[in-house]
């Protein structure tokens, strides 16, 4: 029920570690924003500054129409789910969930009603009298979520809430969480290092690296049009393929050459000169055809190194010259290690990056 605006936030630890570096981000009302990035990139620190648990060296935090930068957590109208859950061990499940309402001096009957309702939402109703030590990890995590949502905050902050659960629980709870938050319509910021979680939950994803936001967009945008080589490599499993190619002009048309073979390149790349560029292509956007004798045109030839069956699909790892490429094909494709393949990337899925900076240079029109 509030928009969040971060203006040039910087956090420096011990006078030298720039954990968060000049981050600006606007999160719309009722939006589910995911902060995604490898561990240590500053996600938690950024979230803690929104919560008021950490004070930024520079920048402002605005929630709704209030500048909350100088306010303590209790005056920001936020709730936070901690990575460790932080369930109070000396209180029962009921008292844990009711803790915040009691601090707000809500009347007893109302506390009971809202606490029981929140407990119901996360299926904790049978456990209201238990203590933290008598709960499983999954139940503790539910207590943490219920304790946060019962406050009906303007902003819900969640720091890797699923990372301490085992794989199956994580999958179930992810879907549950998505439904829950969609019903609540609370502006939510969700921190994770798991790209699948980010893709499945977020309205938008802000990908972070070394204290900065590298790209922010809908899951589809970020996945399809990574702004940098890092983003393409971080999202997706397997990560996006990157091939170092040479730009040449053949018959007036730019072509990306890899050894003797080439692919048509967009005209916008011409002014990039004949420098090296990176060609990015996702494994599922490549057609692989067994190569029989005849010369190949408009395609790349790879030698198959390994074939891995993933169940519904097969992952083929091949080599083009000295560069590796991964291709996803149907599970029953007749491909074996050692086979030569003709690879034909879908033309509209080719992405181009500057080989030095790793930045996208063409074909990454947003939208």
């Amino acid at each position: 029920m509030a928009e969040i605006e971060l203006r040039g936030i910087t956090k420096i630890f011990d006078k030298k570690v720039r954990a968060v570096n000049d981050v600006s981000l606007t999160i719309a009302d009722e939006e589910f924003m995911v902060l995604l990035g490898p561990s240590g990139c500053g996600k938690t620190t950024l979230m803690r500054m929104i919560a008021g648990l950490e004070y930024p060296e520079a920048g402002r935090v605005v929630i709704g129409d209030r500048d909350v930068t100088d306010l303590p957590p209790r005056k920001r109208d936020i709730s936070m789910v901690f990575q460790s859950y932080a369930v109070f061990p000396h209180l029962t499940v009921f008292d844990n969930i009711a803790f915040g309402l009691k601090m707000q001096k809500v009347n007893k009957a109302e506390i009971r009603r809202r606490t029981e309702e929140a407990a119901g939402l996360v299926q904790l109703s049978p456990y209201l009298d238990r203590y933290s030590a008598q709960l499983s990890g999954g139940q503790r995590q539910r207590v943490a979520v219920a304790r946060a949502i019962v406050m009906e905050p303007s902003v819900l902050l969640m720091d890797e809430p699923l990372s301490n659960l085992d794989a199956l629980l994580r999958l179930n709870f992810r879907a549950e969480l998505k439904r829950l938050v969609a019903d609540l319509k609370t502006t939510t910021i969700y921190v994770t290092h798991d790209q699948i979680e980010a893709m499945s939950l977020g309205d938008r994803i802000a990908v972070m690296r070394e204290g900065q936001i590298v790209q922010c967009g809908t899951p589809m945008e970020v996945y399809e049009h990574p702004a940098t080589e890092f983003v393409g490599g971080f999202l997706g499993s397997p990560p996006m393929n990157f091939l170092r190619v040479r730009l040449e002009t053949v018959d007036g048309q730019p072509r990306a050459m890899l050894g003797d073979h080439g692919l048509p390149a967009p005209a916008t790349l011409v002014d990039h000169g004949s420098r090296d560029v990176l060609l990015g292509i996702r494994a599922e956007n490549i057609e692989a055809i067994p190569l029989e004798g005849g010369a190949a045109h408009d395609g790349l030839v790879s030698q198959t190194l390994v074939v891995e069956l993933l169940g519904s699909q097969m992952l083929v790892t091949g080599e083009i010259g000295d560069q590796q490429i991964k291709v996803l094909v149907r599970a029953d494709a007749p491909i074996r290690a050692g086979d030569a393949l003709l690879l034909r990337p879908e033309a509209d899925k080719l992405r181009w990056f500057d080989a030095e900076s790793g930045r996208s240079i063409a074909g990454s029109a947003t939208g």
Binding site: P72, R74, S79, F82, M103
Partner: protein, 291 residues
């Protein structure tokens, strides 16, 4: 954490290192038990002797060799001790001094311990050391100027003088122990309370205190016993308002042996009872601190 040591295969004709280690381990354990038994006896035997002598008829006190199992039981000695002049008032003084010491050292020491546990500030490590070093300062040298100061303040020969002195003695201990207790309370919990509407003080009172309480209780018993047993400062700082140890010390040279044994037992028993009662908390405390 000794996963670095490589285990050579045992089929090379030599004795398996694992077996050797197992045997050494057994020997080590046996040695440990022997040592523990000796230590326990070293503490328990005098306590036992004091106890049986305190509860024997007075003529048995000088008997030699001692009977390990007494054949007569009598509370004459205890009765005589408890009813002799000055004992009951000094007992009351001792309790008051210990309680005041407890309150003062907790009120002053626990916040310092909390600060050490939670905040990174310039000079934290030197501060820790300096706290400890106050304990190394000889009371003998401190006592006379202190007596003079207390005279000028008008609290000489009162329980306050002794309580203040005991507070100073207990302080390093209180600060360091409470700091390790507070360290063991996860900071996350406190921060969660802050996001749920608590002021820092409310978070401390509602979350940190309940979780630290068992540890604090144990620490406070140490302080209590320290004050209960302290005699040197108590003797120097009082004339009439004696604490029990000071009273006993003052009358000791001029009293018969059975009186001394009764006094010793009377001094010993409360500490033992305390320690027994808080044993459970103590184990919890050390377990948490060492983790």
């Amino acid at each position: 954490m000794s996963t670095v040591s490589q285990q050579p295969d045992s089929d090379d004709g030599f004795r398996s290192p694992r077996q050797a280690r197992g045997r050494r381990h057994m020997l080590g354990r046996a040695g440990l038990y022997v040592l523990a038994t000796i230590l326990a006896l070293w503490v328990l035997f005098p306590i036992y002797l004091i106890t049986i002598t305190a509860f024997s008829p007075r003529d048995v006190v000088r008997e030699y060799p001692k009977r390990v199992i007494p054949d007569e039981f009598s509370i004459d000695s205890m009765d005589f001790f408890v009813n002799s002049t000055g004992v009951l008032p000094s007992l009351w003084n001792s309790v008051l001094v210990a309680v005041i010491t407890l309150i003062l050292s907790t009120v002053i020491g626990a916040p310092a311990g909390y600060a050490l546990a939670r905040f990174v500030f310039r000079g934290r490590d030197p501060y820790r050391l300096i706290i400890l070093s106050t304990r190394a300062f000889p009371i003998v040298i401190l006592s006379i100027p202190l007596a003079v100061t207390f005279l000028s303040w008008g609290i000489y020969d009162s329980i306050w003088a002794v309580a203040l002195m005991h507070t100073a003695l207990a302080m390093p201990f209180t600060v360091l122990i409470t700091s390790s207790i507070f360290v063991s309370v996860p900071h996350d919990l406190e921060e969660a309370a802050l996001t749920l509407g608590c002021t820092p003080l409310q978070a401390f009172l509602r979350v940190v205190m309940p979780l630290a309480l068992p540890g604090l209780a144990a620490a406070s018993i140490f302080t209590f016993v320290l004050s209960w047993n302290e005699v040197f400062a108590a003797v120097i700082l009082t004339l009439q308002e004696r604490t029990l140890p000071a009273q006993v010390l003052a009358t000791l040279t001029s009293s018969p042996p059975h009186f001394r044994f009764a006094a010793a037992w009377f001094m010993l028993a409360p500490s033992l009872i305390f320690i027994f009662l808080i044993r459970r908390y103590l184990l919890g405390l050390w377990g948490r601190v060492s983790r």
